[in-house]
């Protein structure tokens, strides 16, 4: 039963990590967005406004958990968890340090691509069960978007698999060399953009476009269930940044020991900041622009990247 207890501990650790990531992510986003808009951002609650998000969390926990009269109650309540759990599971295969990933599996790269994609089921259930037109449209948009961007994202990661000759993340990290950054630069850009779309963040936030759909698939959610959707979004952003910082940018390979971990954290933070920067800089795409961008630019680019890597792999 030690495996079960270990899994439980890692599950709790992942849940806590995502909660902290969400708290930090919201605060960081407010600060960065403030600077971009020539404001200061949160500053009165705690030093540099760091307690603002904690105060907001307490507010959300204490708020009434409203279920619409006409909603399909069971499905409505289940949906946030179906969105959150796959995101939490995706943290388990990230190579956090040399020789260490919480779940060291031979199919870790595929696991990271496949499991978070299950969140789309929760989004569809949440949008459908609300029996609200805005929520339904948002859910359909989210599903179409997430399925479309999964393909270029997977193809981009496949370049690394070809280079490493393995789909085990720790093997990829062991085989990693600085030349990969140049060789897989287009693939990394595709991965980064597709990851933003996968977590439904701006400029790919048409499923929850507040100016036309209020909040899309979670328009009718409030209190703790609303915050679970938010935690999944920020958790997904951090997970994608951790994974990208590790397998594409080398993560802890740059320096031995604790220095490597610090570099890994710095790279992750840089990617999170870039995601926030992109959101607050670019205007939201239209639905048709978003789909044609995925199928006409991202997917062909990822395929070309894969072919190039397959050709040059013997020399790297």
């Amino acid at each position: 039963m030690s495996g079960f207890v270990g899994g439980l501990i890692w599950g709790l650790a992942a849940g806590t990590l995502i909660a902290i990531a969400a708290l930090f992510g919201v605060w960081w986003e407010r600060k960065v967005a403030g600077r971009i808009q020539m404001r200061i951002g949160p500053q009165t609650t705690g030093p540099a406004g760091i307690l603002q998000t904690i105060a907001d969390t307490l507010k959300l926990i204490l708020k009434e958990d409203i279920t619409p009269d006409q909603a399909d109650v069971r499905v409505f309540r289940l949906a946030p968890l179906v969105v959150f759990v796959p995101v939490a599971m995706s943290f388990s295969v990230i190579p956090f340090a040399a020789g260490f990933a919480p779940l060291d599996t031979s199919v870790g790269m595929l696991f990271f691509l496949a499991v978070p994609a299950l969140s789309v089921i929760g989004i569809l259930l949440g949008g459908w069960s609300s029996r609200n037109t805005y929520a339904t449209i948002g859910a359909i948009r989210a599903a179409a978007q997430m399925i479309s961007y999964e393909l270029p994202r997977a193809l981009a990661v496949l370049s690394l698999v070809v280079l490493a000759g393995s789909i085990r993340p720790l093997d990829v990290m062991a085989a990693w060399s600085p030349w990969w950054i140049i060789a897989t630069a287009p693939g990394f850009i595709v991965y980064f953009i597709a990851s933003i779309a996968e977590v439904n963040r701006g400029p790919f936030d048409i499923p929850e476009a507040e100016s036309e759909l209020v909040a899309g698939y979670f328009a009718d959610y409030s209190g703790i269930r609303w915050s679970i959707f938010m935690m999944a979004e920020y958790g997904g952003m951090v997970a994608a940044s951790l994974f990208g910082a590790a397998v594409f940018l080398g993560g802890w390979n740059w320096l031995p020991g604790i220095g490597g971990i610090l570099v890994f954290v710095a790279l992750t933070l840089a990617l999170v900041t870039a995601m926030v920067w992109v959101k607050w800089t670019y205007p939201r795409l239209r639905a048709d622009q978003l789909m044609s961008f995925a199928w006409k630019i991202m997917t062909p680019a990822a395929i070309v990247q894969l072919v190039v890597v397959a050709v040059i792999a013997p020399w790297l």
Binding site: M1, G3, F4, D69, Q70, D72, V75, T105, S106, V107, L110, F111, L113, A114, V115, A117, L118, V120, I121, L124, L125, G127, W128, R131, T136, A139, I140, A143, I147, E150, I167
Partner: protein, 168 residues
């Protein structure tokens, strides 16, 4: 008696119960949305069975293709149907006799064809099936893999041509 209740046997019985339970819900429930959710649970338990028999690659492929692909397609189709009044299912399964006969027949064929092939006991040692699969697919089965890939590519292009034609 205590030794029999190992983590492996608990996983076996738990997976069995959830698999059969979710499959039964798929067959007997009338609300199509709940049917789809149960189908999703069933797909995930199939992935669980692959993991139980240490075939991690198949488990991830199951999640990728069935839970993340087929199920989303089913949910997508249901969501495009007309709305129903509150408290009523959006669409009800007819539960026709023909479908029961076909389901039972298919189930019988699957059981008969697999009865000697599926090991009931857990393999003694886990092994990396991914390497073996890669060796087979990129070795003797490479022409077959290329043929299937080409077929899928033609199917994709055909869909684009068909929809492009409709738009015009």
């Amino acid at each position: 008696m205590i030794a029999e209740f190992s983590a492996s046997s608990i996983a076996f019985w738990l997976l069995s119960a959830v698999s059969i339970g979710s499959a039964a819900v798929v067959v007997f429930t009338r609300d199509v949305m709940r049917l789809a959710i149960s189908l999703g649970v069933f797909f995930l338990t199939v992935a669980g069975w692959y993991l139980y028999f240490t075939h991690a690659f198949l488990a991830v492929a199951q999640v990728f293709l069935y839970a993340g692909g087929v199920l989303v397609l089913v949910l997508f189709a249901i969501m495009f149907l007309r709305r129903s009044k509150a408290g009523e299912p959006i669409l009800e399964s007819r539960h026709s006799t023909d479908s029961v006969v076909i389901a039972v027949g298919l189930g019988f064929l699957v059981v008969m064809s697999l009865r000697d092939r599926v090991p009931i006991a857990l393999p003694q040692q886990a092994f990396p099936t991914t390497t073996e699969l890669a060796d087979i697919l990129l070795g003797p089965m490479l022409p077959h893999l290329a043929a299937v890939s080409l077929l899928l590519l033609v199917a994709c292009v055909s869909v684009l041509v068909v929809f492009g034609g409709e738009r015009e």
